[in-house]
């Protein structure tokens, strides 16, 4: 004979799967992140790339005076078009963002070993002018430095004498960890899947059961309250975990099949191992979430009230997700004590490509499971359910 709790679990699963609309809604939550976040990442990456390396055209008055400068700029994806007229008028009226002016004296200044002047007319209050100016200014400065070094060499002086300091930057960010900044929206969507996946089941097996009037006959069967409610809790757990899994796998597939383009060394990767780590790291959260939803939904008088209450619970996955996206909090044993925040950080750590700290994993698992067991105990207490069954 099947264990009574399994009888309840099986029936609740069949019932929930046949609830087409609720089932579809859970799937929507699971796929929300993969289908929206990843395309947004692609778009961001593409536009960043375009700004970095796309060829631009700049107007230059007197280009004929500096053929070598024009050649150098062209090599660095800055095309020069000849300009004639009033540069101030052209910039003020918005026809040009930047106008370069090379005077006829440019060639003689260079030849005489003086600083040849290149003037720039621009309006930095315009958003498109700033990035363009910075890019052009950097290339012109680099070109000027090359000329200066050649002059020093020609005079028998080590060019390094002209530099008092050399700044060297070592960036320890791996490509994965830089990509993870862009992916910081991902923990939020995965935690959302945990919360949203079982919510409709939690409501249906409690407030829904009462609204249908089937609660009383059910509690009049020989099962103990704990046996019954554990079966219901099991159904919520299955849906919550399945939604998490679907979301995780979908993220992994979408990122692997259509990887967002690299952004200056940033690589977004979520392979099978990282996806598995994310699932195992996040799965313990399913228990406290399901128990909390069951507790809240069973104390609600109607399905509507239960829906409102579980919607408020959705704030819980949002908070650590938003915090991590805005200002990353370092993962410490202390943050691992906080369910939901701990899982968000474990997901981030998995995305960064490193292995997870076993101590962190253990603390997160212990504290999350302890909370889950406590909530499950409260959710299945006989005393509380007597009121639930009786209330109309």
């Amino acid at each position: 004979m099947t264990h009574p709790t399994l009888v309840v679990l099986r029936k609740e699963l069949v019932d929930a799967i046949r609830d087409r609309r609720a089932f579809a809604l859970a799937m929507v939550y699971a796929l929300l992140g993969p289908l929206f976040l990843v395309p947004i990442l692609r778009a961001t990456a593409t536009s960043l790339n375009r700004r970095e390396n796309a060829p631009v055209v700049v107007a230059m008055d007197g280009a004929a005076n500096a053929p070598s400068l024009v050649g150098y700029l062209r090599e660095h994806a800055i095309e020069v078009k000849p300009f004639a007229g009033d540069p101030f008028d052209a910039v003020k009226s918005g026809r040009e963002d930047v106008v370069l002016i090379v005077t006829p004296e440019y060639a003689s200044e260079l030849r005489d070993g003086r600083a040849a002047v290149v003037r720039v007319v621009t309006d930095t209050s315009r958003s498109t002018a700033g990035p363009l100016l910075r890019r052009i200014a950097r290339q012109i400065e680099l070109y000027g430095r090359v000329i200066g070094q050649m002059r020093l060499l020609a005079r028998g002086i080590d060019p390094h004498a002209a530099s008092g300091l050399a700044l060297e930057v070592d960036d320890v960010a791996t490509p994965e960890s830089s990509g993870a900044i862009l992916l910081s929206g991902l923990p939020m969507f995965l935690l959302l899947a945990v919360f949203a996946g079982g919510a409709h089941v939690a409501i249906d097996v409690t407030a829904g059961e009462r609204e249908r009037g089937s609660m009383e006959p059910l509690f009049a069967t020989p099962l103990t309250v704990r046996q019954l409610v554990l079966g219901k809790l099991g159904a919520v757990l299955v849906f919550s975990a399945a939604t998490l899994l679907v979301s995780d796998v979908a993220f992994s597939l979408v990122i692997q099949l259509a990887p967002p383009p690299q952004i200056a060394g940033m690589r977004l990767e979520l392979g099978p191992m990282a996806a598995l780590r994310i699932f195992l790291g996040t799965a313990p959260l399913v228990l406290p979430v399901a128990a909390l939803q069951l507790l809240v939904a069973s104390r609600s008088k109607t399905v509507k009230e239960a829906q409102t209450a579980t919607m408020l619970l959705l704030m819980i996955p949002m908070l650590p997700g938003v915090v991590l996206a805005l200002s990353p909090v370092a993962a410490t044993p202390l943050t691992m004590l906080v369910p939901s925040l701990a899982q968000a950080q474990l997901i981030m750590a998995s995305l960064r490509g490193g292995t997870l700290d076993p101590a962190h994993l253990a603390i997160a698992f212990a504290s999350t499971t302890a909370l889950g067991v406590l909530l499950a105990f409260m959710a299945t207490s006989r005393r509380a359910w007597e009121r639930v069954v009786a209330a109309r």
Binding site: P4, V7, R212, S214, P217, P222, L223, A390
Partner: protein, 246 residues
């Protein structure tokens, strides 16, 4: 056999049941009557062990419903006032679920379900989902579900409410059959003519107390009434007065 011994139950400041005692014997249909809010539903809930009495005890076939609720519930079939079916499951699945919950399984359970389908003339709806069933069809499913474990005690909370003539007749036939099979049937209703015709004993509950307990005939005679309805109105009035003076 159900014995209710001076049970009390209060919810906060509201006293729902204030000392109710009665016996319901095997092979008899016992009517539990009373105005709305008199404490009938609370009494039935204590009988199924869904609720615990604050004082007193309900005993089903010698088992205290508060001390051993699981054992007591095996001996009771409940048809609640809201039929409460799972609309996404078929008739058969609804009944089979409760069979499983009562510890039944396999061929014996399937055979029992087929018997109930034949008995209640519900072969046509056996494998349809319950969504959209008429009141009569819902009653049949709920009744089959209450009887699936062949309980020796059957609680029927307003079974005929909202039914058409044909289904009402089928239900009354079923109640008579249960009585003939020696079951203890408790029947709550607001239709006095039906109670007069069907029930062996009547327990009238007013404001959480038993106002009268006797056969329908004895109640009519004691109050000098032509009909049970008249007797009921008189007894409820008396019961309400007593509660006030007490």
């Amino acid at each position: 056999m159900i014995r209710v011994g001076s049970i009390h139950k209060r919810f906060g400041d509201v006293v729902a049941v204030n000392d109710i005692s009665f016996d319901a014997r095997d092979g008899q249909v016992t009517a539990l009557l009373g105005p709305n809010g008199a404490g009938k539903t609370t009494t039935l809930r204590i009988l199924t062990g869904v609720m615990l009495p604050d004082r007193g005890a309900a005993v089903v076939d010698g088992v205290d419903t508060a001390r051993s609720p699981s054992t007591a519930r095996r001996k009771v079939g409940l048809l609640s006032d809201q039929r409460g079916l799972y609309t996404r499951l078929t008739t058969r699945e609804n009944i089979r679920y409760f069979g499983h919950l009562h510890g039944q399984d396999g061929d014996a359970l399937e055979a029992r379900i087929e018997d109930l389908f034949a008995l209640l003339d519900m072969k046509g709806i056996a494998d349809r989902r319950v969504e959209g069933f008429s009141l009569g069809e819902r009653l049949k499913v709920a009744l089959a579900r209450a009887l699936v474990h062949d309980p020796s005690n059957v609680l029927l909370d307003e079974p005929t409410a909202g039914l058409d003539v044909m289904t009402t007749r089928a239900l009354r036939g079923m109640v008579r059959r249960l009585r003939e099979a020696g079951k203890c049937v408790i029947f709550s209703s607001h239709v006095m003519q039906e109670v007069d015709e069907l029930c062996d004993r009547v327990v009238i509950v007013v404001a959480g107390r038993v106002a009268a307990e006797a056969t329908p005939k004895a109640l009519r005679e004691a109050t000098g009434s032509q009909s049970l309805e008249e007797a009921f109105v008189k007894l409820v009035g008396l019961g309400a007065k007593e509660t006030k003076t007490a």
